[in-house]
């Protein structure tokens, strides 16, 4: 097993490493897979594309022996198979890397790869295994230190360990469930190199994603799923277009750019001056940030993650201690979470499941979070349950939050629906100031469109909006003005109309403007 087992002989011309026929899988109340066919050829990257909840993970969990289908057949190398456990699937050469990793943080890479195998029986001569794993990693462009502890690794590196685990167990078919959701852009490139190295060596990859650009970049063939069914089987990756894929995925035309009325900026709603703050590690994250946001405009805050944008949003919403001056509608406010809520500052936080919602509470409890203190919800010391429920029902209907009922726990919502819930709650406050942080991260095209439209409608209704996003396309699509952050400071502001994407990109990565541009920028800031 030193370099993985030899590939099993295949009947010439078959070419199908895996074939799924008519797979059916039901969960209480949903049919997750409804007669799905899927063929994976040897040596290809086959993308499985679909919105959240389309049934992609379920289908592949069946192939990987985690779920058992209610109907249909699984053929591996032409042989019908019936897997009782992931162990049997991996023995047949099928390995899956899940969205959530299953590594032991306190153990080394090598120990994690060996975990669950019956070798070595004793922890002697780990060195031999380390060398073996290092060689395997090399072969597939999986840079890792076999002796590093897992807790020391970045998320991207941990993913590589998961892939190594599967390869070491002899996987010929690697199933990756939304592998890029957790990765930074450079890491995505690395992953793609690994996947190409694998297919070049005769292995096959199923790449699950809902991101069009990635699928188009990596896939040899693309299968699109929607609501448990295949809407397009094995399209050649080279011929597909974005709009075609988006339509197959969502089931209708998707406008990837929102319609935009000219902005009519009004008075300054938020004005901050010389804000300084530390990050969670106690290091200086904001170094004298000043900016204004006016009614009826969206100010896009662009920047690479970790340059202080998240901290700035937390300062404005009272969640982070700061030094400096914050004015709301011309009056200084010593910001705290309670004051931010009391002033009606809406906040779409970066962390939807940890901060923006209480996962085990109901939709109703989540939707009343910002207004249970005032009538009509508050009635003396109590909460008027009827009023709370009717508010929740109205928001659920108005914002099309897909859930069985308003008593459903928030954790059961898909990412897109949870974001709708948060937006519904925040927008329904009719805020004069809205802070939205990475509002579409991880969402599929249909959900992104909905979120963009909601933000735009709020801006047209006169709200001042601060939009923080790492996605430059999103900023360009929505923002009326753009500010670029780098290392805790604002290094440039632009009118969206004459923004130069290359210059913004340069500033985001610490590049300088030419001298007269810098002077002009200084003028612009001074003039404010």
């Amino acid at each position: 097993m030193t370099d993985g087992p030899a590939l099993p002989a295949r009947s010439a011309g078959a070419g199908a490493a895996v074939e799924l026929r008519g797979i059916v899988k039901r969960f209480p109340g949903v049919v997750a897979n409804e007669g799905v066919d899927f063929t994976l050829r040897t040596g290809e990257v086959h993308a499985l594309l679909g919105e959240n909840g389309a049934g992609k993970s379920t289908l592949m969990n069946i192939l990987a022996g985690i779920y058992r289908p209610d109907g249909g057949d699984i053929l591996v190398d032409g042989q019908p198979r019936d897997f009782r456990s992931p162990r049997e699937a991996i023995a047949a050469g099928l390995g899956m890397v899940h969205q959530h990793f299953t590594l032991v943080p306190s153990q080394t890479v090598t120990e994690n790869v060996l975990l669950g195998l019956d070798r070595p029986r004793f922890r002697l001569r780990l060195g031999r295994y380390e060398a073996e794993i290092a060689r395997l990693a090399d072969r597939f462009n999986l840079r890792t230190d076999p002796r590093a502890k897992v807790w020391q690794l970045s998320v991207g590196e941990q993913q590589r360990v998961e892939i190594l685990k599967m390869l070491y167990r002899g996987a010929n078919v690697l199933i990756m469930d939304e592998p890029t959701a957790v990765l930074a852009p450079q890491e995505v490139e690395e992953l793609f190199r690994t996947l190409r190295a694998m297919t070049a060596q005769g292995r096959s990859v199923v790449f699950i994603s809902h991101k069009l650009s990635e699928v188009m970049a990596i896939a040899d063939r693309i299968t699109v799923m929607r609501r448990g069914r295949v809407t397009a089987a094995a399209l050649p990756g080279s011929g597909a277009t974005r709009s075609q894929l988006a339509r197959l995925m969502v089931g209708r035309e998707v406008l990837e750019t929102v319609a935009r009325a000219p902005s009519r900026p009004g008075d300054v709603v938020l004005s901050i001056r010389d804000i300084e703050a530390d990050n969670d590690k106690g290091l200086r994250a904001l170094r004298g940030v000043s900016l204004d946001v006016r009614a009826g405009e969206i100010l896009g805050l662009a920047g690479v993650a970790g340059n202080g944008q998240s901290e700035l949003a937390q300062v404005i919403t009272g969640l982070r201690p700061y030094a400096g001056r914050i004015e709301i509608a011309g009056r200084e406010v010593a910001m705290s979470p309670r004051r931010a809520v009391a002033r009606g500052i809406a906040h779409v936080p970066e962390d939807r499941t940890g901060v923006g919602s209480a996962p085990n509470l109901s939709l109703t409890d989540n939707l009343i979070m910002k207004r249970y203190r005032q009538p009509p919800l508050a009635r003396g010391w109590a909460i008027d349950r009827a009023a709370a429920r009717s508010l929740a029902q109205r928001l659920k209907d108005e914002y099309a939050i897909a859930a069985p009922s308003i008593d459903t726990q928030a954790r059961l919502l898909s990412g897109g629906n949870l974001q709708r819930l948060i937006l519904a709650r925040e927008i329904d406050l009719q805020p004069s100031l809205m802070v939205a942080v990475q509002p579409t991260r991880g969402l599929d095209v249909g959900a992104i469109e909905a979120v963009h439209r909601l933000l735009m409608a709020r801006r047209d209704a006169g709200a001042a909006t601060l939009l923080v996003s790492e996605d430059l396309d999103e900023i360009l699509a929505l923002a009326d003005r753009i500010a670029v952050m780098y290392e805790g400071g604002i290094v440039g502001t632009f009118d969206a109309a004459d923004a130069d994407i290359h210059e913004i990109g340069l500033l985001m990565t610490g590049g300088r403007r030419s001298a007269d541009d810098a002077a002009a920028a200084a003028d612009a800031v001074g003039a404010r």
């Binding site: 779920y67 057949d73 019936d82 009782r84 979470p337 901060v355 996962p359 010391w381 059961l412």
Partner: protein, 377 residues
């Protein structure tokens, strides 16, 4: 969703096997049903064990039932045992709701007993004060002493982030020593490990006190403390369910970061919940000295504050469930006194707890029997 399927019947020849899949949502009825199922199963397992060691399970159970519920007299005794368990169980359930692991109900109970006794023994109120004044004063003193004792770990946690499990646990021993100092020292009655008996004005009214006009109540030791427990459970239940404060507690319990985002002052809630939790346990201590023992003594608690932790879990932190669980444990405590040598009641307690904890898996996972009728490899 990385759910695992455990092939339990792993031999290939078995006609059916168990498939375990993670549940996304558990139906509402499932929690209570598994709890009851676990208790029933535990009783069956215990029965098998009793039979294996040569006992007669039916007779043992009948004996337990009879000695806990068999007559009005023993039922009354069971409820007397359940009274401090209801109040301390509530103390734990309320704190646990907010994920504050107050395992110091024992200490808060002792401080409550001490505080209530101080009214009589210090004395705070002169001898001869009528009961109508003494009893409320004792209740107030007991609850206040328990609350103060609970606020120490509360403030430490809220202000300095000190782990409350450690502080509440250690304060239990401090409370015990504090109480013993008074019982052995200043308040000792003739050098014994107990104080003088309280005057009648300091006794909580009992049913048997009414036997003059209602002879049926003669010998029934149920006292007013039971009413404190029932009323407290109803109030806590109602406030948690309907109140804004209860909503805030539930929100903090589920996600402190979301609660902060909603503008809730978490530090203040920690201190307040610890104070209320301590007050409930302190009231239990008051009710025990004033309703049952009528004096302060060294072994005033057989570990009510610790049993309360199990009760809170058994009740799934539901205040009304606490009443049921407390009566169950009250019965086992009583039966334990009766058939102590066989150790049966404590074995049942252990198995019940074990079955309860394992039954959680049924709430989290869906278990199905599967017939591998299809082409197998």
């Amino acid at each position: 969703m990385t759910s695992g399927r455990l092939p339990i019947g792993s031999s290939r020849s078995l006609p059916v096997r168990l498939s375990v899949e993670r549940r996304l949502a558990a139906p509402r009825w499932l929690g209570p049903v598994t709890t009851i199922g676990a208790v029933v199963l535990a009783l069956l397992v215990s029965a098998v064990i009793i039979a294996l060691v040569g006992g007669d399970p039916v007779r043992s159970y009948l004996h337990i039932v009879r000695s806990a519920f068999g007559s009005v007299g023993v039922l009354s005794d069971t409820l007397v045992k359940a009274t401090p368990l209801i109040l301390t169980g509530l103390a734990c359930a309320l704190a646990f709701r907010m994920r504050l692991w107050n395992i110091g109900a024992e200490g808060q109970f002792l401080l409550g007993a001490w505080g209530a006794s101080a009214i009589v023994l210090a004395p705070v109120l002169p001898a001869g004060t009528p009961g109508i004044l003494v009893i409320p004063a004792m209740m107030l003193a007991g609850a206040a002493a328990g609350a103060a004792w609970g606020m120490i770990p509360g403030v430490l946690r809220a202000r300095f982030g000190v782990n409350e499990i450690i502080t509440t646990l250690m304060l239990n021993y401090v409370a015990l020593l504090w109480m013993q100092y008074w019982v052995f020292g200043p308040w000792s009655e003739g050098g014994f490990q107990q104080t003088a008996q309280f005057p009648r004005e300091a006794w909580l009214p009992r049913l048997t006190d009414l036997s003059g006009s209602l002879p049926a109540f003669s010998g029934l030791t149920i006292h007013l403390g039971l009413v404190f427990g029932l009323v407290a459970a109803a109030v806590v239940w109602f406030v948690l369910r309907r109140g804004r404060w209860g909503y805030e507690i539930r929100l903090i319990g589920d996600s402190p970061r979301a609660a902060r985002y909603a503008g809730i002052d978490i530090a203040r809630h920690i201190v307040v919940v610890f104070a209320i939790s301590g007050a409930l346990a302190g009231l239990a201590g008051m009710s025990e000295v004033s309703g049952v023992v009528h004096r302060l003594q060294d072994r005033i608690s057989p570990g009510y504050g610790f049993t309360a932790i199990i009760i809170a879990y058994l009740a799934k932190f539901n205040p009304l469930g606490v009443i049921v669980a407390a009566i169950l444990f009250g019965a086992l405590l009583l039966a334990g006194r009766e058939i102590q040598p066989s150790g049966v009641p404590s074995m049942i307690q252990g198995i019940v707890l074990f079955a309860l904890i394992t039954s959680e898996i049924l709430v989290r996972y869906r278990v199905r029997l599967v017939r591998p009728g299809r082409a197998a490899a």
